[in-house]
Symmetry: D2
Subunit: 372 residues, 4 copies
């Protein structure tokens, strides 16, 4: 049979996000008509044993414990980085230097300045990049964005966006790299998703006032002692959008009971939207154009009218899952590699979100508003 050109993937890391990327690579070609045949080429991990086990489990041809060899391998087209955050920059710069396209989990690096350096390098080298902001790949978010852009809600006035989970709510859970002063904290870890969604829907944020709070002041260090925590458990911000709307953002990883509260409400002069990631196949829409007495938030269920839902299922209401969002993310990137559209979320955008996070953190420290 005739076949498409190959797109050979080299994956670094095989944890939670590594696995999610592999799910995306596996299902994207079945769901979408991609311009390339994706080949899972080589998987790199910290030991040969771990790499081999993961390569077998995930269906890669070969394994390595030397990520530099993987990066330099001329048979590989795309370097996919899901290693710990602290290593992202070194790996990505090496891959860019080797002329590879780079797909990297968020955050690109602990500091925004590093992320900017990465974006600069990629642009200079002319390679295409992608950061894993998967929530943005939800068909209902794309639909919400179009509704806002088309004026369906009228003039946008107010916004509330949050991303709250409880994975750090237990004060006896130990210190991890997510608590590192450089790049750590709830705002950076998940508040960044709330910021990305806000800008995805309403456009650029122009000014912020931050309120980053540490609630749990020390955690076990894993060696029998404790370690002081300096990063925020709750990161809040007032925001002003360039379009004139005002809003608020909250990232919170000690929100007891909340598992996936990535929610927003947008209020316009002619309508409103409400969304919760807890039921991410649903978008609630209120229109002032509805007849008097019959107005109310409509519970719109995702279906083939909401691209690209129909690729996954011809019937509405069946629901996409978290990993399906990853497939959409992969498909967008692979298409961009073939020149079909922009990357869904490239290093420049990733660096921008990290800059926003740092601006909010600085605003919080200085207790004053800051321009972005």
């Amino acid at each position: 049979m005739p076949s498409k050109p190959k797109l050979r993937i080299g994956l670094i890391g095989s944890g939670f996000m590594g696995k999610a990327h592999v799910f995306g690579f596996a299902s994207a070609p079945k769901v979408f008509d991609l311009p390339y045949d994706i080949e899972l080429h080589t998987l790199a991990d910290i030991t040969m044993e771990a790499a081999t086990a993961a390569a077998n489990a995930f269906g890669f041809h070969s394994a390595t414990d030397n990520w530099r060899a993987l990066v330099d391998n001329p048979e590989i087209d795309v370097i996919d980085i899901t290693a710990p955050n602290a290593l992202h920059k070194e790996m990505a710069l090496a891959a860019i230097a080797a002329g590879k396209h780079v797909y990297c989990e968020k955050p690109l690096a602990p500091l925004a300045s590093d992320a900017i350096e990465m974006a600069d390098a990629a642009e200079k080298a002319g390679v295409k990049t992608q950061v894993g902001f998967n929530y943005l790949c939800n068909p209902m978010l794309a639909f919400a964005r179009e509704m806002i852009a088309s004026g369906e809600l009228g003039e946008i006035r107010g916004y509330r966006g949050i991303h709250c989970e409880d994975y750090m709510a237990d004060a006896t859970s130990p210190y991890t790299f997510r608590h590192d002063p450089a790049g750590g904290g709830a705002l950076a870890d998940i508040g960044s998703h709330a910021l990305a969604t806000a800008e995805h829907l309403l456009g650029p944020i122009a000014e912020v006032m931050g309120d980053c709070v540490t609630s749990i002041h020390e955690r076990p260090d894993g060696k029998g002692g404790t370690r002081k925590i300096e990063v925020d458990d709750i990161g809040r911000a007032f925001v002003r959008f360039e379009n004139g709307a005002s809003g608020s953002i909250e990232g919170n990883w000690i929100a007891t009971g909340r598992k996936m509260q990535h929610d927003f409400e947008v209020f316009g002069s002619k309508g409103a939207l409400a969304f919760s990631q807890e039921h991410f196949n649903v978008l609630h829409f209120y229109s002032t154009a509805d007849a008097k007495g019959l107005q109310g938030f409509r519970r719109i269920e995702a279906g083939p009218d909401h691209t690209p839902y129909g690729r996954f299922c011809v019937a509405p209401g069946h629901q996409l899952g978290f990993n399906d969002l990853k497939a959409i993310e992969v498909a967008g990137y692979v298409s961009a590699l073939a020149g079909q559209g922009d990357e869904p979320f490239n290093f420049r955008k990733g660096a921008h979100i990290q800059g926003l996070v740092e601006t909010i953190q600085a605003s919080s420290s200085e207790r004053s508003w800051r321009k972005v």
Copy 2:
């Protein structure tokens, strides 16, 4: 038949809130075993015609167009003020001077300084006062407060409280007294409810950072022209509670589609609560003490276990209405007048909430944090 001492009410004003007070006076004695027989004595309104019509409709014995006569009438025990806000102070001070107990709708006066003067006068005169913060009378809020106080949620860490409606979302709706620079705006009008609920549950707020935004910059003046709007359509605040918790507040009267979004979430180390006034007979409770795999927010429906619900209905789930909250408010006040407990929400507390509103407004103007 033997009978209780009478409590004779003089009501000033017969609009929305006047009617709600009358509902409360009518049903409270049937629901509760009050220490007094409530007598609807005299109703004052701006013309004799309006006063007479309302007195007939509401069941008052007599009517007057002279509120001063009503205040001075020795046959009246309680002066209930539901006249326009700008008149509250003059009326309340006159009533206090006449030795009457005073029940007054919120806000007590346009400015907090006036409200403090009113509270001072009442305390000096030894009369008992009440401000109409009816949301606080909800049995589920009392229950939430007890849960928090008893430690059921552990250490309280985070709070999110909002009161959003859309009654000012239409930019063509005209300028009203609610838009007056003195005492007007969404934060004062409904954000004050969010603040009252927050302090009711978690105790005093110690510090605030405000963000008060005007979205609709002019409105019809009702005379064919337009009038500039200076008050906030959305009033936000970061808050610090004295107990160490941090949180956020939003009052918003241009929240298209929202009719009664007086909602909160409280996150503690051992549990969480979530509440929406849209279904105010329900409280959602998450406990980390529940078994693994079986944890989740519980939808607790109001019932006889939640005092004083059982006074209204012996069966759970039947639901109280808005006017029932007013009956609870009235019952609390009438009991306090007989020396049974404190007033549910007296002038001192009302003045305090107005002070909080002004502190947030000032913080917003200065763009800096403020101690309360």
Copy 3:
């Protein structure tokens, strides 16, 4: 002041429903502009002591332990019966014989034949009657009924109606009059509400197939022994409406966890409605006329557009309570007494619902369909 003619009420019984009626009598005149002044005249209960205590608590002028005296008292216009079901018939017939209007809690009598006798007597005597089907007084149900009648949903095809609670789910709760073979069981007690709502919305039921099931076969008799239970804990029915639609009904008093699941869904060719009494101020409406991609159930919150909500509150979303429905019920009846419209739900209708219940029970026993 000028005053309306008096409507003097004599109440028999002072339990849960007696209290609810008094709430209705107290608030209806404040909420509505009734044609009469309601006077709570005399309250009858089984002992003078109980009657006097209740009369004082509820605000009746006098008390009696002789209901026959109350029925014969020429000063009384309406006899309101909230005594145990088994006594309804005797009391109502006596009141009718005395030329009184009669307001009676449901069920009118244990057997439909008795209820028909009561309806016949009332019609013959020309007195006006009312049965307390308060759920039907919900503004959102009136609104739903109008929508259906106006063709907003197109041709009606399918219906699902339930009334499930859990007050009999505990097998150790003792035998009560509700378990009496004559007139007892879940279908009669609460399934009757589901039937009344179904016919209120869609019109007469023409044919039924019943399935009445006893799940708890014996209960404590309150004397240390047990007593066999013969009535249904769950009563189901398939139904055919005269308009051609088909549907199902369930009454269930052992529905663990459910407090007020009086719910329905109506499916038409052009739209659908979904409702739950758990949030009875909300009606969900789906319209196939909405734009493609934007279709979904709308959550319509009760407001002034939904008569008579505006009588209680000028702002939408504030919510009526269970006792407010009783006020609407009272207002409808009092208006009917003055010749303004029909009684909301008279003895004839009450007898009809009891007939439906018995037809379903008979169908279940015979295991075959039955015409109504």
Copy 4:
């Protein structure tokens, strides 16, 4: 690298369900540690052109327009049938005769007698079979089943199960094979899912009373005329389970507005469960063991505690999608092929559900109860 034995798949059909199967084959090996390497060997469709296009899109090695050749190909281990229902039997029997394992979409055949013949043949030949009842693969359903089996809900008393969609609600949508008197109708098409879920949770149904209703009596025949419809648009049943519980079932494909209302409630003596496929990552649980005043339905979100959710995602609340259920279905079958456990849902079970459907239909026609 070492590798697992291959499992070579031959797929017949490439429509909605064919694609869903391919999604399952693609992701199952990434998510689970399967005993085989799955190889997408050959795809058969009605023309060589269609087969080739689908084979390319889905990643099969080869294509054919001759399903018999595919069935007889000794290189193929499993025949996966997603062709039109009317062809299932012939294809499956041929595959079984060729000694192949057979995976077949539901329904196995238009008539239960055919399905039984297929199950008999498979058992006689010793091949392993699977029918695609994917809703049963939901981790929350497995969890619900365990809760019921472990006695967490006490004695099970009542059940309500429905599967309602609206894909046939438009009377102008044309006649299709789903309207064929043999095997057609809403009860067979989707009510069968409600029946499968009911038995999955509570065990065998012993007796039924059916109510199958045709609401739309004719549809366009696609040739400019109309065709009479004889199958049910709504199929209801009362059911008795062998465990003594009673319940009801509804399958409805004209339920305007409903896209995926595969819902159930189970009521036991000690607790209850409520579930909606509209949010299939959530299970609601009520326990009478919760403290007084704190009882309520808990909203349990799917997470790693609910096997095999953790295979897809290490964090709770992220949500599986419809196609993930297919991956679980595939994994169960592939494991069974290696002797690890039973098939999730084999031909015998599939034939049993079809028998239930036919019993209900017969009961409806005869208007009388029927033993299963």
